[in-house]
C-alpha cells in the first residue's frame, strides 16, 4: 500500500463526483468526458447515451499515465464524432514507444473541445508539514520552460484554506481572478478530503461562461486512505482501478502474488525484472530485499536479476509456501543445461518473524520442486537470522541432503549479502547438470500441490 497514480479519467471522475458534497451550495464542476478502452463499447456506440458527443467538437487523448502526449501525435483536437471514433479505432490496442518504454495504448479519454485563450497551472503536493499549492498564469505544454513563473504557498497541514489569502498567488492580472481563487480553494478542499497525495491541472482554463475548468489533469492518491474514503473513489460506480505504469503489464505470477498479498496482514511482493534472469531473490524484509537487489547490481549482474520481491510481517506457512512455489516456478522455467542458476533465500536478522515457521513453507515448496530444481541446475543460497533461526537453518540443510538439492546455508555469522557472491560464482561455473535424464517437460505456471 502506498501512493497510486490515477488515470486522468479517474482523477476527473472523483473530483466531479465529490464536488457537490464537499463544496456544497449546489455548486458543480463542468467536467464532461467519456472513457473508451479496449473492452468498452466504442465511442460511436457510447454516443447514443451521451448526446453531447455528436453536438460538440471533441478532444481525444490517450489516458495511459504518460505525458507529452501532444508531442507523440496521440492527441486529436477539434474533431467531430466520426473523426474521433476513427482516430481511436486506428490507435487503440496498438503499441507505441514513449521514453523508451513500449506498450499498447488501451485507454482514451474524450472531452468537448473548449475554445480558450488562457491556460493556467495548478498543482497541490502533500508534504510533511504542509500542502504546497502552486499556481502559474502560464500553464500548458510549455510549463517546464516557464517554471520560474510558477508561484506557490505552503498551507500548513490542517489549516482551513478559507483562512488563507491567495491574492498574492493569483495576482490582479489574472482574468476572472476571484473565481480562479475560489476554484483553487475548492480543488484544495477536494484534495484534502479524498486522500490525494498529488494533484495537477496543467492547464486549466475558463469556459465560455468564465468558469474554471481543467483541461489536463493528473492525480495520485494515498491508497492507505482506502478504509476511510475508498467509497468516494468510485469511478462510474465501480471501485477505482490503479493502473500499472505504462509499458508494464503484469505477469500472471505477479498477479498471483498480489492476490495473496491482499488477503493477508503480512506483506508479499513480486516484480519480475527479467524472466530469463539467472539470479532470483526470495528475500525477507522490505529493507533487506532492496539491499540484496542492490548488491547483485553493484557486482555487475543486474542484467541477470530475475526479480525484485520481499516477504515480511510474519506471513503464515501457507502463504510463504505459495510465494516460494511462485518463485521456484519462475527460477526453474525452461531449463538450459549450460547455464546454472541461483536462488537467494536471504534476509537480515528478523525482529519477530518466526523464521522456522516461514522456512517450513519454503521447504515444502522446495520438496515439490525438487525435480525442477535439479533439472535447471538451480543452487539455493540461504542466509537468515531471527527467532528460531537455528532450527530453520538446520531443516534447510536436512532437506538439501535428503533431496540431493544443492543448498548452502548460513546464519548471522556471515554478512547479510555474502551469499550474493556465492550465487554469482555459481552462475559463472561450468558446473553442468548431474541428472539430466529425467523428463523433458518444462514447468509452466505455478503448481502448488
Amino acid at each position: 500500500m502506498a501512493r497510486k497514480k490515477l488515470r486522468e479519467y479517474s482523477t476527473k471522475s472523483i473530483i466531479k463526483n465529490n464536488f457537490p458534497t464537499i463544496i456544497g451550495n449546489g455548486k458543480t464542476i463542468g467536467i464532461k468526458m467519456i472513457q473508451v478502452c479496449n473492452n468498452s463499447p466504442t465511442l460511436m456506440e457510447q454516443s447514443k447515451n451521451h448526446i453531447w458527443l455528436a453536438h460538440n467538437k471533441l478532444v481525444v487523448k490517450p489516458d495511459m499515465l504518460f505525458g507529452k502526449r501532444g508531442k507523440n501525435n496521440l492527441v486529436l483536437l477539434n474533431a467531430n464524432l466520426e473523426e474521433a471514433d476513427k482516430f481511436i479505432k486506428e490507435r487503440i490496442g496498438k503499441k507505441v514507444t514513449i521514453d523508451g518504454k513500449e506498450g499498447a495504448v488501451t485507454h482514451f479519454i474524450v472531452e468537448p473541445f473548449i475554445q480558450h485563450s488562457v491556460e493556467y497551472y495548478l498543482s497541490i503536493v502533500a508534504q510533511r508539514h504542509c500542502n504546497r499549492l502552486s499556481f502559474s498564469s502560464k500553464g500548458g505544454i510549455e510549463i517546464e520552460e516557464n517554471w520560474e513563473l510558477v508561484q506557490y504557498v505552503d498551507i500548513p497541514y490542517g489549516e482551513n484554506i478559507d483562512h488563507i489569502n491567495l491574492h498574492q498567488l493569483v495576482d490582479s492580472s489574472i482574468v476572472n481572478r476571484e473565481s480562479v481563487i475560489e476554484f483553487l480553494k475548492n480543488i484544495y478542499k477536494i484534495f484534502c478530503e479524498l486522500s490525494f497525495h498529488f494533484l495537477e491541472m496543467n492547464p486549466f482554463t475558463l469556459d465560455f461562461e468564465g468558469r474554471p475548468l481543467p483541461l489536463d489533469c493528473r492525480g495520485e492518491i494515498d491508497e492507505c486512505g482506502q478504509f476511510k474514503v475508498g467509497n468516494k473513489w468510485n469511478v462510474d460506480d465501480e471501485p477505482i482501478h490503479f493502473p500499472q505504469p505504462f509499458g508494464r503489464d503484469l505477469y500472471p505470477e505477479e498477479t498471483f502474488v498480489n492476490e495473496i498479498d491482499e488477503k493477508t496482514g503480512a506483506s508479499l511482493k513480486l516484480t519480475i525484472l527479467n524472466p530469463r534472469g539467472r539470479i532470483w531473490a526470495m528475500v525477507a524484509g522490505g529493507g533487506a530485499s532492496v539491499i540484496y537487489a542492490d548488491t547483485v547490481a553493484d557486482m555487475g549482474y543486474g542484467h541477470e536479476l530475475g526479480n525484485y520481491g520481499e516477504y515480511s510481517g510474519d506471513p503464515n506457512e501457507e502463504d510463504t509456501y505459495k510465494y516460494a512455489c511462485t518463485l521456484l516456478g519462475l527460477a526453474t522455467r525452461n531449463p538450459d543445461s549450460t547455464k546454472p542458476r541461483a536462488l537467494l533465500i536471504g534476509g537480515g536478522i528478523a525482529n519477530f518473524t518466526d523464521v522456522a515457521a516461514t522456512f517450513k513453507g519454503i521447504i515444502h515448496a522446495i520438496k515439490d520442486y525438487q525435480q525442477d530444481i535439479l533439472r535447471s541446475n538451480l543452487h539455493l543460497f540461504v542466509r537468515r537470522g531471527g527467532p528460531n533461526y537455528q532450527s530453520a537453518l538446520q531443516h534447510m540443510r536436512e532437506i538439501g541432503n535428503k533431496l540431493s538439492i544443492p543448498i548452502q546455508v548460513y546464519g548471522p555469522e556471515v554478512s547479510m549479502t555474502s551469499i550474493v557472491q556465492l550465487a554469482i560464482n555459481h552462475i559463472n561455473s561450468s558446473n553442468n547438470i548431474i541428472n539430466n535424464s529425467s523428463s523433458s517437460t518444462t514447468t509452466n505456471g505455478i503448481h502448488c500441490h
Partner: protein, 618 residues
Amino acid sequence: MNNNNNIQLPAKLFSKQSQALIYNYKEAAVQRMLDFDNVSQRETPSVAGLVHPGSEGGFYKAFFGFKELVIPIYNSISEACQENPNADVFINFASHRSAYNSSKLALLEPSVRVVVIIAEGMPENEARSLISIAARHGKVIIGPATVGGILAGGFKIGNTAGTIDNILACKLYRSGSVGFVSKSGGLSNEMYNVLSRCTDGIYEGIAIGGDAFPGSTLCDHVLRYERLPEVKMIVVLGELGGWDEYGIVEALKKGDIKKPVCAWVSGTVAKIFPTEVQFGHAGAKSGSTAESAEAKNKALLMAGAHVPNSFEEFSQVISHQYSRLVENGLVNPVEEISPPELPLDFKTAVKAGKVRKPTSIISTICDDRGSELTYSGVPISKVCNPEYCIGDVIGLLWFKKKLPPYASQFIEMCLKLVADHGPCVSGAHNTIVASRAGKDLVSSLVSGLLTIGPRFGGAIDDAARTFKHAFDCGQSPEQFVETMKAKGKRIPGIGHLIKSADDIDKRVVILKDYSKTHFKSSQYLDYALEVEKYTLQKANNLILNVDGCIGVLFLDLLHSCQLFSMEEIKEIIDVGYLNGFFIVGRSIGLIGHALDQKRMRQPLYRHPWEDVLYDVEE
C-alpha cells in the same frame, strides 16, 4: 524540501529508568522487553502498564528475570497515564485503522513524551495530522510502520532486536558509542549485529519506519545524536524515495553535525528497472532523480559523510571511522560485562530441544492437537458418518477399539434400557428434589448420579467380577451361592425390590434374547441362569436383575468377540468399565427429570412430617 517547520527533538529520549505503556499489548513483545530489562540489569521493569480498551482492567502476568511480575491492565489511555505519571513512552500496537485515535490521545497526555506507532498502512493524512499535533506539544513520534528502537543497556521498544539470544550476541545489554538510525526495522537488527562486530556497538538505534511521512525523520535523530555526548559516531542507513537524507546533507554542510557520519542509501538497483517500481516500503518508490539512491549517496558524500561504494563495503567504512576515533582517543573501549543469565522460557527451550520434562498427564484415547480431532486415531469426520453409532464412540473412547457392529449395537441397547426407570428410584428422586430446590441442571444431574452405587445401578462391575471369579474357579452354582452365603455377602446382580420370577423384568428378557441371537458364546449367562435357578428356590425375587444380566453378558461379549486378550478382559473388569454404561444411560433420564421439574415450575420439595417416624427421646 522536507525541513520546513523543522522542530528540534529532545536529545535524550530514553534512559535506564524509562517506562512504557503498551496499547493493545502483544504478549511476546512485553516479555521480550522485560527479558531485555533483565540482561541490562534494570532495577525497574520497562513496562509500567498495558492499555486494553474494552477490558475490565485486571492484571497481566509476565516474567521479570526469575520472578513473576504483575502488570496492571487499564481500560483507557487517560487512566493508564494518570496511574503511571513516570511512564513517558507510549507504544501503540493498534491496527492501522485505529492507530490514529489512540496515538492522538496519547500525544495529548501531559506525561507522555514519546509515542511509538507500530502499525503499517496508516493514511498519510493521519500521519501528518499526528506530526502536527506532536510538533505543537513538543512530543516525539517514532513510526508508523516501525519496530521501534533501542537504547542499548537501557530501554527497548517492543519487538526491537528480536530474541534474547540476538540481544546477547549483539551486546545490546550494554552501551556502545554509535548512534544508528534507519528506516527499516529488519535492517536495524542486521546493523546492530554488524556494528557489534566493527565498533563497540550502538548507544542507541532507531527505526523510523518505511512510510513517506514518518513521525520523526532520519535527520531528526541524526541531530539528536549530534547533541548526545555518549554518541561518538553516527551511522545512517537510508533508502531511495523521499528527501529525508537531504536534511542530513544540509546539516552537514552548515556544520551542524561535527561527529563522523557513515551513511548508505539503499536502492541503487532502481536504475536497472525498466519502469518505476514500488519497493517493500511505502516511501520507497523509484522515479524522481533527486530521490534516487545514487543522488542521495553522492550528496551525502559531497557534504562530508563517509559513504561506501556498496552496502557490502559499509561495514569496512564504519570500521575504519571507528578505529580512527579509537586512535584519536575519542572512544574509550567499553568495559565488557557479562550479563546475568536469563532463564530460558520453557516453550522456547522445548522448541530448541534444550530441555526435557516428564509430562504430568498421559492421554491415550483422544488427540485434539492436529487439524482434526481424533478418537483413538479415528478422525471426527469419520466418527460422524452413519456407520458409527454411540456404541462405537464408547468403543473408541473406553475400549480403544472399533467394536464389531453387534457389540456396538449391544452397548447402545444397554444405554437405552437403563436410560430411565421412573421418578421413584433413588437417582431420579434426588434429581427431582435438587431441581425443585432451584439448582441448575448439572447440580440436579449429579445429585441423582451420586446415588449410583452398590445398591442402585452400580452393581454391574461387581456382578461381572463375582460371576467371573466363580465361573473361572470352576465353582458349581450351588457352591458359589453357599460360599457367598457363608461369607454373609449378597450376590451382586441377583435380586430385585419389585420384580420377581412371577413379574419378570422385561429388560432382562430383551438382553438375553439379543445375546442368544448375536453372541458367539453365552457361557457366563448360562452359568448365571443356573445360579438364578438355585437362588429362586430360596426366594421368589432373587432373580438375575438387569445389572447382573448386563455384567455377565459383557463377560460373554468380551470373551467371544476375539478383540481382547485374557489380560485385557481382566483389566476391564478390575478397573470397572461397566458401571459406566449405567451412568451414561441414566444421565439421559436424570436430565429429563430435572428439565421436567423446571418445565412444570415445581416448587421446593419438602417431605411431609407424617411420612417420617419421629422417634426422638423426649
